[in-house]
Amino acid sequence: MHELSIALAILDAASEEAARLDGARVLAIHLRFGPLSGVVEEALRSAFELAREGTPFGETSLVFEAVPLVAFCPSCDAERPVASIRHLRCAECGGPASHVVRGRELEVVALEVEP
């Protein structure tokens, strides 16, 4: 259940950021995550519901923003989207990609707070 560890870390991140906003009440946490973050959306959603209980985030929701997978293609000499995490091949030319450029993200990117 690494989703529970991640849910707790999300709450820690939100507390830290909310403290900078003079403890504003947080209505929603926006999470940006890539296909290689190791996070399964459904599993994290339920873990988050467990983790928020009894914290100041009891009513806070979690909003997922998926990031696409982008890798470097040596034959195109450019960053390209790839077919899937199972087929790390350039969506343009079909050649093998050398390394992932985007898609590992796991970040809190915004807080919706009471006005």
Partner: protein, 225 residues
């Protein structure tokens, strides 16, 4: 009329805390001159047998100073087994947590003189999903799967293959018995992670081990200069 909520942009990596501890470990390892290898696999991959053979060979044949940390859910079977190699072995009991994190590694190293080691191995909890997210400060991460688990492991667990540096196919002595399709396994790894190094090893017969140990030694020299 109600005012809509205010959207405040922030940028906060969720695993910032783990990454900070991992970075601290990495510089500690570098300063001590110890090369750190972590192992991830599903249960039943033969990871412990592989590591026992590696520890023994490096210690006895090559005269190197080796040690291991073993992550385990509750029992200490793996640690006891590894202790047969006569290398210092310490267990990290994770309880219900299905992965190691950098803080657990850091705590387990308490009192160890890292500068007296050439290699430190960290055996993660047997799980192909959860460990992928956590950096442990290691130099090299191995993902292992056995011929008895089937050729489709890479396609079933692509994320762990993306966070690992090398793939090791274990229990190759059993390959004929289970009609293991090595080509399909290689194709799977290549599909998920083009160019990833793949090694085939039998911990039982020792076949393939030297090729991997040579590569390991080259990696270590490259990292430590």
């Amino acid at each position: 009329m109600t005012t809509p909520p205010r959207l405040v942009q922030v940028r906060h990596r969720v695993l910032k805390q783990n990454d900070l501890v991992a970075r601290g470990l990495r510089s500690r390892f570098r300063e001590a001159g110890v090369y750190v290898v972590s192992l991830v696999s599903g249960p039943g991959s033969g990871k412990t047998a592989f590591l026992e053979r590696v520890l023994t060979t490096l210690r006895v044949r090559d005269g190197l100073r080796v040690a291991a940390l073993v992550g385990d859910l509750a029992t200490d079977n793996d640690a006891r087994r590894l202790a047969r190699s006569r290398a210092p072995v310490r267990q990290i009991t994770t309880g219900t947590v299905c992965h190691l994190d950098a803080a657990m590694v850091s705590a387990a190293l308490d009192g160890w003189r890292l500068e007296e080691l050439d290699y430190l191995f960290i055996e993660n909890v047997g799980n192909l999903v959860c460990p992928s997210t956590f950096d442990l400060g290691e130099d090299l991460r191995l993902v292992l799967f056995s011929v008895t688990e089937g050729e489709d492991k890479p396609l079933k667990y692509p994320t762990i293959f993306h966070t690992a540096d090398e793939a090791i196919i274990t229990k190759t002595d059993l390959a004929p018995a289970v009609e293991f399709d090595a080509e399909a396994a290689h194709r799977g790894v290549e599909s998920v992670r083009p160019g990833m190094a793949i090694f085939e090893v039998s911990a039982k017969t020792g076949e393939g081990l030297d090729r991997w140990l040579d590569a390991l030694s080259a990696r270590r020299s490259g990292a430590l200069g």
